[in-house]
Symmetry: D2
């Protein structure tokens, strides 16, 4: 922590601040300049509320000098984390594609969509059974019935499954069927949930909150890591901006920034990131070109009849075309699209 004193700060005020910090366990170093004195406080508590110093007499500004997260940082772990889901490696040389419907609706819909995305090259099936909806009157998902449909289709296609958990009361149930547990954007700071997920053994796909900074997102990951679960996959899914033409603004820059700050893999979700079908493919291509470790894309065998998010779901043939474009781009970042996906070779679960 750096404490910049006011130009007119007195020697007594400087001494007072120094003593207070020393009592709190900081080593304090003093730099006296022509106009101002600056104190460097090193050590102390990572979660110290710097505003307590800001309100002291004679203090002009206070700056933090360490990231508030630790386990999630590159400083702590310089090499990239690869999250292993059965044979699949998320964060390795191959880019993984996850695809499927927003919600499980019927066995046919789930089965047909899963077959189509597998054929095109996806290796993880996505789909929700518990849906967080901004209106209490919207479709809220099929619950366990939905999970059964999804698991069945994933098994048929030899795919992995990712599905959302909204509350600690659902962890066990969703964990029974799903290979990866998803935390939605609205729950990114549901700390009770995050803490509990830190105690599970399943990989967690943690979506970024709609107006969260990258630091807050990594702090939420820290809750899971601190609980003992090191398999966290970050997911960029669009942030809120002033633009009204798109549903959200996909923050593509989060991809290289996360790779710089953290060792955790990052997945791009262009479907929620932009929210309207005809822009999903450009944003998916852009995400890959920026270095995403994986993509998660909404595909529906019949989007016009979808019970949720139909307007941002791709038709199977659009998804297939997109996969072809992704294969062209991958070498530009020294990677390939997961070969299992390309060749459709059986994955042992």
């Amino acid at each position: 922590m750096m404490i910049v004193m006011q130009e007119q700060a007195t020697e007594e005020q400087i001494e007072e601040v120094t003593q207070s910090l020393a009592k709190l366990g900081f080593d304090v170093h003093r730099s006296t300049g022509a106009l101002r004195t600056v104190l460097g406080a090193i050590g102390g508590n990572r979660t110290f509320d710097q505003r307590l110093v800001e309100v002291m007499d004679g203090v002009s500004e206070v700056h933090r000098i360490t990231e508030p997260y630790k386990l999630a940082s590159r400083t702590f772990k310089p090499e990239r984390t690869v999250v292993q889901v059965g044979d699949l490696r998320i964060g390795g040389d191959e880019v993984i594609v996850m695809a499927g419907p927003c919600s499980a609706e019927t066995e046919e819909q789930v089965g047909e969509t899963a077959a189509a995305v597998k054929k095109a090259g996806a290796s993880v099936l996505r789909g929700g059974a518990f849906k967080p909806r901004s209106s209490p009157y919207s479709f809220q998902g099929l619950g366990e019935d939905g999970l059964k449909m999804l698991r069945g289709a994933a098994d048929d296609q030899q795919m992995k499954l990712v599905s959302e958990v909204m509350d600690i009361s659902q962890i066990e149930l969703v964990g029974k069927y799903s290979d990866i547990l998803q935390v939605g954007a609205r729950n990114m700071q549901n700390y009770t949930l995050l803490r509990e997920l830190g105690r599970t053994k399943k990989p967690i796909l943690l979506k970024r909150g709609i107006s969260a900074t990258i630091e807050e997102w990594l702090l939420s990951a820290e809750y899971i890591l601190a609980g003992g679960n090191s398999d966290v996959i970050l997911c960029e899914r669009g942030i809120r901006t002033f633009e009204t033409y798109t549903r959200n603004t996909m923050d593509i820059s989060a991809i290289p920034v996360v790779h710089k700050l953290s060792h955790l893999p990052i997945v791009a979700d262009p479907s929620h990131g932009i929210g309207i079908r005809d822009k999903v493919a450009p944003m998916a291509r852009a995400s890959l070109a920026a270095g995403a470790d994986a993509l998660i894309i909404e595909v529906h065998c019949n989007p016009d009849q979808a019970m949720s998010d139909g307007a941002q779901s791709l038709y199977p043939d659009q998804f297939d075309r997109l996969m072809g474009e992704l294969r062209i781009i991958a070498p530009a970042i020294g990677r390939s699209i997961c070969r299992e996906s390309l060749h459709g070779k059986a994955l042992l679960r």
Copy 2:
């Protein structure tokens, strides 16, 4: 819903959209202009995803024409709601002041602070026992011990108590001690929690999410109202903007806007709204002048030693001075500060 067709839309496309909407239960009215055709779709489902129409051929734009919330709206209930907490009336002619520490820390701290704020004119004690913290390494609250301290101090001072509940697993416990249950900003869209609170009998103080629109906030209130609990108090506590000098930007305009759109009372929280002690009083005065039904303010008997939010907590004498200023302002909006508060007369709980 209004569907604006493209200028070059064909008669077939217009017919196709009309038929689809009719099938979905809408009455469709057509306006044919010189350049464009506009369709008005009335009825149908309040939660219909309008993007499904946006992606149809020939469609240029779609606009919703009803608020997506119902029970929370002035259209549904034109007269203002008064939330009764024992003898206290929140939303009536008298403005209610809630005050107290961020967190319960010790019996002395809670007791001393409660006595001070009561003496200055507050009638509800605020204080947390479960704290949502962005870092897993920060102080997380005392739990039930904290609730006991708060209840004890509230009873000693004949005050009501408001305290936060973070998860459905805490509802029963917090409800045992607290008169009003608070939902924090980070949980504004924790729908599992909101739904469960709809089934309780306690008044709910619902904080606005840090980047939530007013519409989203009212939709979250709708979850509680739809569950059968009509005692919802909205709380403005600052939104995120680009300003870095303040912690949040208090959206004072939310006060008159909420009063226009909804019948629910609104409380202003200038402590979180601005986040730094010396600006709390100006923002409290501004909130009252804009028409707030109540204020909730952090006060600590010894802010420099506070375990959380000390930098935004008022000293007791600052709070006392502020109460005097508020009494000058209240008549400008045709109100008074709660007389119980002024005269310190016993409130029967």
Copy 3:
């Protein structure tokens, strides 16, 4: 400037950064901690681009330690500036009210509105002759004819006049008629214009840009001050947020923040700040309660026929009622509404 080195930074990297900074004229102080080294660089150039250090090997973070503005800061000038406009003092004990139409349209409209606002207590007439409009097809103002109408009405009512200048080519003309030159929000960073206004003798009312931080706003004031014109009045007029119900979000907190950081007076513009008539009065009251030095309010004798901004203009009787409310609030902040305004006593221009 504080340079935080990475934990794994080598001694060579630290030395390299130190030497580079010394060459650039900084005094460098070193603090060596258990985990990290921190360098304090004092002196050097106020406008040095800190990113040049951020990209050096071994550097983790860089923090600026002085405000980038100087003449606008409280550090430079601790006592508050009072801008004198004839007999009027903006920033003194009395709060000044400026009112009038958005644009000058006809002699009758300007004259009637001026008479009404003067009678209610305003002492400065506002009105535009050059209008910045987001569409090239909107009404762009009457130019010099409008200025003549405004000057005439101000003289008739013994009021001062504030009017907008959009470009350096208009400075002389607008300055011929107007007592205060206004810079609109969209021109807050039109540096060519600001630099030229620094060379005039007229007071400048500088509106905050729609997404400007307070620091950027003070830097724009610095351009004017650095040119030799010390009569700058800042004007808060609403910022852009995610809220769609209001046109802008009035940042009331900017009022106490500006008073803390700068000696310059601040005017609140609730008409643009909220953008819809029935919320103007609450926001005007809130601005005063937060400590505004002056208010600027759109009033039109016939808002329904206004050529611009009619929907946010008050009717004369609404403005009169508002003035009464403001007189109740002013004592709460130890001020009064300008007595000339109250008593309508002649102001010598």
Copy 4:
């Protein structure tokens, strides 16, 4: 325009609104539903201020149904515009790369940088002689001397030149040396400047304002188009968000959105879009993958000594490597990088 009446609106109120709109030149169509009446108003003035209807009695909401811009829209001109700059075609099948230093500093710096970027494949040289800087104490550019250096280097390398114009007083001078005139983000709503540029014959590169919506950006383009200059190139250069780790957030989604709404070509500026060197390449690749018609990139022969923006300027070898990656990606969007650029064949100016 769609006017949604309140549920409780009376027949008189509906009639009043209808009559008012008819007087204003609108054709009004009425849809009477079970709960609400909706009025469709077609025709009238494109720039009509809808808030005037919003404040009428009985009105609940008003929605605009036409874009406020016309000449910039796809509705007006369905086929894409190709801006011709000598032999170069911006918006055609080949993607154009513009590169060069932030500012002209010395003849050597400009010459060396131009040679390097030309060799790597750029066909337009970028560089500033008039610099808009947020601080009055920062380097403000070399003026005409800088323009001469830039023109000289462009001629030597047979490249085109793009340079910024900050004010109407600079148009003639900059136009004398530069092939394309750039309008900076801070001037996007400097309407006096835009109107004047509409009267020139030079292509205009119009940068998006830092918090402008896409609609506002297209309205600014409309000012230029309405003046008679149809050669407008839009430039996405990052928007302001809450993220502090990056300087701006590059809005990659603006690329497909602009292509949907407008016929004008769009250039991506990843250097300003992200603001820090090591993230420029990922954002450049992402922009191309999303469909950008051109890229504009800051390159400096010696970034560590640059007088402005050195930290976001690429080293020549980084730029060269990036060009290789772009050539891999281009076929994924059915395009190629401008062949002149690849083969270095002479361009006749």
